[in-house]
Symmetry: C2
Subunit: 373 residues, 2 copies
């Protein structure tokens, strides 16, 4: 573990009150006893399921991780497996396909599987991984609806394995700085959150535009950042949702694939969130949190970074570390050392977002305000 | 008229195609013949009705106007009339109160009355001014609902006088630059507009928080900027509206006074607008226009200026001139020379905003999407 990382981790355990210079609190120990165990250096041995572009990014990120290592592969494409095996010196015995990966149960060299496949496949795959006795890390959205997400949570509980969702922003230093400022009241009473999440999607043949594989369009893929962001930025859970859909290209964005949705969420304190999810515009990766005493603006707010922004107190300039590297380091701590992150990344956290996505789709369909309580 | 102002006005008549350096096109002539008449220097002799804080600002702005001059006063407060009379050397014969101002009909020294009173009074006052044969300039919102606004338009038509609404942003140079860039396609196809309009309102006893005088809360006062901005920034008229209300302080914000409303508008092309109107937060004066090829961000977007912002092509840095000075100069041109502004400021323009405000209040009440066509 490099010295800066050690410094940040140790600092996080004891220096919550120190704010100048800001020390990102990546995670908090459950208790003093558990703090001791958080000093563990035990390495999380990970198999990646799904060797697409995001899988490639996660693999690269693990090259720099001190606590997570790529040791296994699960893929339906033999040529990819060959290339990755060579690149990462992975033995044959740690390579699986989608038919035989249940046998991972008998492989003592793999601790966890990171599921990075199309959304509609997550549930079945995650449950099979859990039943094989391995921890599950699952990319977001964790499933295509709340019912599936709940099944996954229950299956992992039953199997006694952890279920973690790939919420990399929950470990990002500028994000944590803003969340901490909000917690310590530096913005006053929070009144408003705005999240704009979108990009202009390319290739119309990709799985993200196939409703059978994606379970939805922009909302599943990118709108979820605004949903999730509204929750961690405000620190509240929404009690109602309204939503409006616009579709300008019904050929590219078929039935079941949302192109653009604006949605609003009401929170118990009276906070209101106004968000946009879209596959048809760029320049959209913005968060804005507004309180009675101050504000935070982030742009980009959830991209791969560096995250930039400012608060009423000045620029957000925490140093950038590749998000997936930090995530994997921290997830090792969660799995092995019982560390509880500042912002949860477990299956129940993922389920909350899926409940909201279901409600947004219902609000679009009915035109009505959907209550979440 | 100072040389810079003359330069800008002359430039606007002939240099539409020139974009570097950008020449704000404050107004466009109706035809070549009318262009000639737009060179008129005839001064608009204005009486201000309502000597409150905004009236004070308009009076001050007219000190620098080359084409509008404060010559009369209408007020219910004799002490204010005395102070203003002295400050602006206004003769007794040009001073009126709310009972006797119909006699302005017989005063050949006054061309127009600028109505700057509480919203609920505009209709009756504007109609009386029109019936006295004087041009009406009315602060926004022009009335408290569309039915009233329509009556005003009809009364001014019938009386053969102009009805202009105090849309000072329609003459603001950075705003016009963005509108011009949108018109010439520099942002590509417009997809999204976001307007955040709000401030934390102070004194709970002010007329703006009295529904009988204001006809509504933040929406009437400040939300109208996002409504109006959505229209001139996108260049389209909305076809539907949805809206959600949140009230955190029902003591300060009584029945009939909206504190915070989020609202959305759909436009024929598929553009969607997402807006916020609020009396309970600061840091809210932002516009964001997003197209397939570029964007414009303005913050502040509708305050008294300087207006600041940027587009995908760089910063918006047109020089600031006091908005109300430019407005009054331009309104003289509209009234005397038949100049047609880039963005309308007539009663029908004001009526369009009132129709949308009615629809927003209806959407809040019913929870349903309100169609505007």
């Amino acid at each position: 573990m490099n010295s800066r990382r050690i410094f940040l981790q140790k600092a996080s355990a004891s220096a919550v009150a120190i704010s100048i210079p800001y020390l990102p609190s990546f995670s908090k120990p459950l208790s003093e006893n558990e703090e001791k165990s958080s000093q563990s250096d035990k390495v999380l041995r990970v198999a990646i399921m799904g060797l697409g572009s995001y899988g490639t990014r996660v693999a690269k990120a693990m090259e720099d991780s001190n606590r997570a290592k790529l040791v296994g592969l699960i893929s339906g494409t033999p040529s990819k497996v060959e290339a990755w095996k060579e690149k990462y010196s992975i033995p044959d015995k740690n390579c699986y396909n989608y038919d035989n990966f249940d046998a991972i149960k008998d492989n003592p060299d793999i601790d966890a599987v990171y599921v990075i496949t199309p959304n509609a496949l997550h549930k079945e795959q995650a449950i099979r991984v859990a039943q094989a006795g391995k921890h599950v890390i699952c990319e977001k959205p964790m499933a295509i609806n709340a019912a599936e997400a709940k099944e996954m949570v229950e299956a992992c509980d039953k199997a006694g394995v952890k279920l973690l969702i790939g919420y990399r922003m929950h470990f990002e230093a500028n994000t944590l700085k803003v969340v901490n400022m909000r917690k310590t009241g530096e913005f006053g009473t929070i009144k408003f959150f705005q999240g704009l999440s979108g990009f202009m999607i390319g290739d119309p043949t990709q799985w993200r535009l196939n409703p059978t594989l994606s379970g939805g369009g922009a909302m599943m893929d990118i709108g979820i950042y605004s949903i999730n962001g509204a929750r961690y930025m405000t620190g509240e859970e929404p009690i109602w949702v309204t939503a409006q859909e616009v579709k300008t290209d019904p050929v590219k964005f078929k039935e079941g694939i949302d192109e653009t949705i604006t949605f609003q969420m009401g929170f118990p304190s009276g906070v209101i969130a106004s968000c946009l999810s879209t596959y048809s515009m760029n320049n959209l990766d913005k968060f804005f949190l507004n309180g009675t005493k101050g504000f935070a603006e982030m742009q980009p707010s959830t991209g791969y970074g560096p995250i930039k922004g400012r608060t009423n107190q000045g620029p957000l300039d925490e140093p950038h570390i590749m998000h997936q590297t930090v995530q994997m380091d921290q997830m090792a701590g969660i799995i092995f050392d019982g560390v509880e992150p500042e912002i949860p990344v477990d299956g129940r956290e993922g389920l909350k977002d899926m409940v909201i996505i279901d409600a947004i789709f219902k609000a679009v369909k009915t035109g009505e305000k959907v209550l979440l309580v």
